[in-house]
């Protein structure tokens, strides 16, 4: 018997029997995550997990702090990548076939419609989750202490999210795609409005030049579809993933997420901590004094607050998995019931009336209806620049990791919300009821309209109001809160006006049911 066991065949058999264990061991170098050491090792040794620390601060685990929004954005992205690759199996990016292949996906391909819906709603959901994630980071004052640059990376991610969605919108080559493409191409051309006014278009037609680069011609046609497709499936996702890598890397290097200075454990925190930890008395009844209380100095050892960290495995991983399944479930259920639109085949002769960009650009389209250059290039550029500069213009280091930086911030946010709504809605009401400069003086030069239009006035008001808040409260953080709140507010209100209140000929209607029938 013994002889057989040591023979080649014997060892081979026991290798087969032990396959499961030896494979697991080769995969998890330190064995199953059953002890604190091996739990730490899992996090450190796994390629996908090691971007996160082996330990995580309890504040990070509180659902009310991050609201899971960054994770939701990531998972939505992963869902669109998987469904996008599946759609690519049937999709053909040529103006002869694009529409028909999307139609096939929608009506013939097995599970095609669900996948297309998931791709569409996952992508558009990203816009919402990314904006909300940005708002969370902003309102918890989390763009400071080395995180300034990561905020800028985040602004780039926001732009990329918009860009990928917009380029995807053009791919089905239906009426929506085509007219959105025409409008976007002309926004790109809109610096011409300025060179025209200056009378230098003949010498320096940067607008038409950029439009030609984008479309691969002067009109939206097959070259344009090729380019948009390239942007959608290659260039923009590639850049997005690179930036995302940097984003996560920097979170780690910045020492994890922000947390309030005087962090206190609450009883309710036990809900987010797994059983083992509780048994090991992370929260002993009589708290003993940690190093923190004894050494009053700004040394790394003091800042580390070892006490309030728990192991990432399983605490963080469980939470992340839960958010993933939640996201997937919401996207699937929504996509099961709500279909992504698909209109008739693109027809360059008949614009849709009203011709609308996708909903997330309708706020911009409202601004575009005042001036193409300001609405399409000037004001969005200014807004993005302003967003990117926030961490450099507000450098106050107090109340980091606290929602609204305390009571006063909450009040300022609320006040700006109310004041902003009144001013913006009032301004829009004037524009809708009485028109603007050209309605009053039909011969007015274009220059005046570029310089003085409702969009510019609103942005000017936001800036002056925030300066006023800074002066009144003596705090740049409060000014930032006022500005950011108004920025979000204008995105919501303008998008609503563009989506719901604008009908044929971009005229005002209280609801779609009042649109005239053709």
């Amino acid at each position: 018997m013994n002889g057989l066991k040591n023979s080649g065949i014997g060892r081979f058999t026991s290798n087969i029997i032990g396959l499961r264990d030896s494979f697991l061991k080769s995969f998890l170098r330190e064995g199953k995550p059953t002890t604190d050491l091996s739990r730490t090792a899992v996090m450190a040794n796994n390629f996908f997990l090691h971007v996160q620390g082996a330990k995580v601060h309890i504040n990070t685990l509180r659902p009310g702090y991050t609201l899971g929004l960054g994770l939701i954005s990531l998972y939505l992205l992963l869902i669109t990548v998987v469904t996008g690759i599946l759609l690519m199996i049937y999709y053909n990016p040529s103006i002869e076939n694009a529409y028909n292949t999307v139609k096939d996906v929608n009506y013939v391909v097995f599970t095609g419609r669900l996948l297309r819906n998931m791709h569409k709603w996952g992508g558009e959901g990203m816009i919402i989750s990314v904006i909300l994630h940005m708002a969370r980071v902003f309102y918890t004052n989390s763009y400071k202490k080395g995180r300034e640059f990561n905020w800028i990376i985040g602004v780039a991610l926001l732009i990329l999210t918009f860009g990928i969605n917009l380029s995807g919108y053009m791919l089905p080559w239906d009426q929506l795609s085509y007219w959105a493409l025409v409008i976007v191409a002309n926004i790109i051309q809109s610096p011409k409005e300025v060179t025209d006014v200056l009378g230098i278009t003949k010498l320096f037609d940067i607008g038409t030049f950029s439009k030609e680069l984008f479309l691969g011609g002067l009109n939206a046609g097959k070259e344009a579809l090729t380019r948009v497709y390239l942007l959608h499936i290659m260039l923009l996702p590639l850049i997005l993933f690179i930036f995302l890598g940097v984003h996560f890397w920097r979170i780690r290097k910045d020492g994890g997420l922000t947390k309030p200075e005087g962090f206190e454990i609450k009883d309710s925190d036990t809900r987010y901590i797994s059983g083992q930890e509780r048994k090991a008395e992370v929260f002993p009844a009589n708290k003993t004094y940690g190093l923190m209380e004894l050494v009053k100095a700004k040394t790394p050892a003091v800042n580390r607050d070892i006490e309030n960290n728990v192991l990432s495995w399983p605490n963080l991983i469980l939470a992340e998995t839960a958010v993933f399944f939640f996201t997937l479930a919401v996207v699937m259920v929504y996509s099961f019931y709500i279909n992504a639109p698909l209109r008739e085949l693109a027809n360059p002769l008949i614009p849709e009336n009203p011709a609308k960009a996708p909903w997330y650009f309708l706020g911009l389209q409202e601004l575009l209806s005042y001036s193409a250059f300001m609405g399409g290039v000037g004001l969005p550029g200014l807004a993005l620049l302003g967003l990117a500069l926030i961490p450099y213009l507000d450098r106050e280091q107090q109340q980091i990791g606290v929602w609204f930086s305390g009571k006063r911030g909450k009040y300022i946010a609320l006040e700006s919300l109310v004041v902003g709504s009144v001013v913006l809605i009032g301004l829009l009401a004037i524009v809708i009821k009485y028109g603007w400069l050209r309605t009053w003086w039909p011969d007015i030069p274009q220059l005046f309209i570029i310089l003085i239009n409702p969009g510019n006035i609103w942005v000017g008001f936001m800036i002056i109001w925030s300066l006023f808040v800074i002066k009144r409260t003596d705090s740049t953080r409060m000014g930032a809160i006022a500005l950011f709140t108004m920025f979000l507010l204008s995105y919501v209100i303008l998008t609503y006006v563009g989506t719901e209140l604008r009908g044929p000929n971009w005229a005002f209607y209280w609801s779609k049911s009042q649109w005239p029938l053709h």
């Binding site: 409008i183 002067l218 046609g221 250059f373």
Partner: protein, 158 residues
């Protein structure tokens, strides 16, 4: 000249060579990027020619208007002669519709009068008037790349 001033005005051989080496790497790199950028600008256009024939004058009896959908142009025939007005809105490129009082854009509400002059909305310019000419064989040619001042008409030889 003292040796100090020479030091100040003349570059040493070492730094000259390193600067030369540096720039001989940087300049081609810039040229390379420029080339990539230039490659993106198309040299072949697959679009229809923007100079096109629209048939002879008999097709356009005086007092009528024809909308040439695929050419995106309106051809007006009046007592004075013929003129062509583009149907592309100067705001963001939608196709305008003709109305009793002029032209209306469906996208952001720009309006133009009968001469294509902008009277309302965000359009930065008036609709362009294209040049019409008559060929030797009598056929009419519209050149959408050539803009003519509003009011220019082609007088037809009787």
């Amino acid at each position: 000249m003292s040796s100090e001033t020479i030091d100040k005005t003349e570059i040493s051989r070492r730094s000259f060579l390193s600067l030369a080496a540096l720039w001989s790497a940087v300049l081609p790199a810039i040229a390379l990027l420029g080339g990539i950028f230039r490659m993106v600008k198309p040299d072949v256009h697959y679009e229809e020619s923007i100079r096109f024939r629209i048939g002879t004058a008999e097709n356009f009896p005086v007092g009528t208007m024809k909308k040439l959908d695929d050419k995106k142009v309106f051809i007006f025939s009046t007592d004075n002669g013929l003129h062509a007005i583009s149907s592309i809105c100067t705001h963001l490129g939608c196709i305008v519709n003709i109305t009793e009082w002029g032209f209306q854009c469906p996208c952001h509400g720009s309006r133009y009068n009968q001469n294509g002059k902008v009277i309302a909305g965000p359009a930065p310019r008036s609709l362009s008037w294209h040049e019409i000419s008559q060929d030797i064989d009598g056929s009419l040619v519209v050149d959408a790349s050539r803009e003519v001042p509003a009011g220019t008409v082609l007088k037809l030889k009787a």
